[in-house]
Symmetry: C2
Subunit: 420 residues, 2 copies
């Protein structure tokens, strides 16, 4: 979808005052575009949903067009207390397995492994597993779609967050812009030097005593060098104010500060995500232990080793249920954080994308100004030669002879014979 097209559509939609269908909320993307999220179906779309469009018989399409499938699912779940028993209800099915089989905890982990993988504390669907994902902004190569993984650095030892790659691009862009300004500055210096030499030469007295119409043409030719110098000086001045400065000062002060802010914000969320992942692992271990304990006690009951086991089993089952609830809470918290990080990733990478577009357009605009000024310079230079051409056309040897003879003649009376 082309941004231009989107914004025009978006504009049309801004003016749409009808209420959204139940379950829909509207958000504004960093690009200032409105998009819509359904908190129940998790459907996300650029198109304003109407009561007609939200037909329930399109579950796959709904999943596909969601930026974060199931992303905020658990969060909404937590608002429903009945959940706790849901998990408890599943336990009997776990217990119908033959003794000595894989522990439910381990089986549970295995289940996770089957469809999802967690890399650097971020959880991804395994290839081919889970609902197919569509790009958030198809055909746009948007930053928000392509930097979800971390990136192994060349040595493969440490890995860099995808977001860091985006930040590096920004810093490099800033550097390029700065270097272009430097380059223009060098050009300015060359023009100033050239202008200085031309106007110096134009004041040189060489052949200043040439006379008549030729003398006038020559004087104009020398003067034209001064005019040329002026043109090049003007060029260098405009280069400074209209190209170098804009390139140098564009987002100078706050830019890097803002990038740091983004950087820290995203990094903090990743840290939080890591710690919450650790809690999940702990809780998972605890649940596994509790379930093992319950199993043992259940076997003891069967072989009637103790008479007070009834009590123990009730207790163990309570603790196991408790551990199940703990794990569920931890996973919820983990998913909440991952969801928050996801949202920040989308928002911030779209912001960076916008910044890069601005940078490129800014540079394009001012390099165009450079070529315009170069063009002007050549035009002006040409006009500086014209008066010289005129005077050269007027050069007239006969006229010059008359002027010189009038001034320097010694007498036009011719000698005559001497008389005797």
């Amino acid at each position: 979808m082309k941004p231009a097209a989107v914004s025009s559509v978006a504009f049309r939609q801004e003016t749409d005052s009808r209420p959204l269908p139940p379950g829909w909320k509207s958000y504004t993307s960093p690009e200032g575009l409105r998009y819509y999220v359904n908190s129940c179906s998790k459907e996300t779309t650029w198109r304003r949903p109407s009561l007609l469009t939200e037909s329930p018989q399109r579950p796959l399409a709904q999943q596909n067009s969601s930026p974060y499938a199931n992303g905020c699912h658990s969060i909404t779940k937590t608002s429903r207390p009945t959940e706790a028993t849901d998990v408890a209800l599943r336990k009997p099915t776990m217990m119908t397995q033959p003794p000595g089989s894989v522990s439910p905890a381990r089986r549970q982990i295995k289940e996770v492994k089957e469809t999802k993988i967690t890399i650097n504390c971020v959880t991804f669907p395994l290839p081919g597993e889970g609902p197919e994902q569509q790009l958030l902004k198809p055909n746009e190569w948007s930053y928000c779609d392509y930097f979800w993984n971390d990136k192994k650095d060349p040595q493969g030892t440490t890995s860099v967050a995808g977001f860091e790659v985006l930040l590096q691009k920004q810093l490099k862009g800033k550097q390029m812009q700065k270097e272009m300004a430097e380059f223009i500055h060098e050009r300015i210096k060359i023009e100033e030097e050239y202008a200085k030499n031309l106007s110096k030469l134009s004041l040189n007295p060489l052949a200043a005593q040439e006379e008549g119409t030729l003398g006038e043409a020559w004087t104009q030719l020398k003067k034209s060098l001064h005019d040329e110098a002026e043109v090049h000086l003007k060029f260098s001045n405009k280069l400074h104010t209209e190209v170098e400065k804009p390139l140098l000062t564009f987002r100078c002060e706050n830019f890097k500060k803002d990038l740091k802010k983004y950087d820290h914000h995203i990094a903090d969320l990743r840290k939080q995500l890591a710690s919450r992942y650790t809690s999940v692992e702990k809780a998972r271990k605890a649940l596994a232990d509790r379930q093992k304990d319950l199993e043992v006690k259940t076997q003891q009951l069967e072989i009637k080793l103790s008479n007070k086991t009834e009590e123990d089993i009730k207790k163990a089952r309570r603790k196991s249920t408790q551990a199940g609830d703990d794990l569920m809470r931890c996973v919820d918290l983990y998913n909440q954080t991952q969801c928050k990080w996801f949202e920040e990733m989308v928002t911030t990478s779209m912001e960076l994308e916008k910044l890069e577009v601005e940078r490129i357009e800014w540079i394009q605009q001012h390099l165009r100004q450079y070529t315009t000024l170069r063009h002007e310079t050549d035009m002006f230079n040409q006009s500086m030669v014209e008066p010289v051409d005129k005077l050269l056309q007027n050069v007239d040897p006969a006229k010059d002879r008359e002027l010189w003879v009038r001034e320097n003649n010694t007498g036009d009376v011719r000698p005559v014979d001497m008389d005797i």
Copy 2:
């Protein structure tokens, strides 16, 4: 009369095969124009005389159109022996004066003074005296018409020949031409320096890592500096071969030698003129003495102081006649030399005039070449910017994002909720 008109007339006349009227000879001016001199009437004209045009009833007009009134009169005289007696015949009229009156010699000098004046050994008609002179080349301000007198130098101590003034103009012109070449050379050095700096900057690695369409535009912009440099280098090379060199080498080798030749030739004639003027003065003095002696002897005869005076008077009259002949010869020789000098002055000054016209046209032509090259340079420079403009128009942030994301993305699989 405009040279163009003259030459066209002259051309028509070249084709005229009819014989000239008696007494007329045709000469070719240094400008290659034919002119005509009547050796008897001394009439000079650009128009080919026909038997009809030479009507004797226009003596003044004839005198007026002569370049050197009476110039070669005495030369032709010398070809007629009867002349000698002419002078002798005048003597009796001189002698019919009362005794004690001014001596004929002094009277003769007085006569000369009345109509003519000799300055630095050159004889001119006194203002208002003698036939009115017309310019040799009216309306042309030709050198051959305006440098007959010598010129007092600022201090008024020594005086410079009019011809020297013409030579100084030539030397100054040569100097101006040389200085223009120097000026162009300085411009060449400035262009080379400018080109050197531009191509050096174009190789500068600044912002070389800019990517995508923007990177392409930037690379082209840097390349364009190298192209500009090439244009300015080409300009400086052409300035050297097509402007500086021609200005520098124009009449380099023989020019000053030729001027010296002219200078010596004219100066020698002036020296000769001076020595012949001295002889004239001597002869005039001698004649005066002889006439005095004859007077004395004549008086002695009247008062009969001696008896052998008859013989003495005869002798004295012979000697006086002899002295008269001597003076006449000296004056002839003087006039011959002055006539030769006159002719050389006309020929050479017209040659110098031609040289100056050539110099001015040569310089005009090559300064025009300068403006042509300047114009070309600006044209080429403009074309160097065009490819940059094209690539700047193609700059596309979306395209650049795609290229970069394709290469640097870390993965487009979005995270999903962890399961319990």
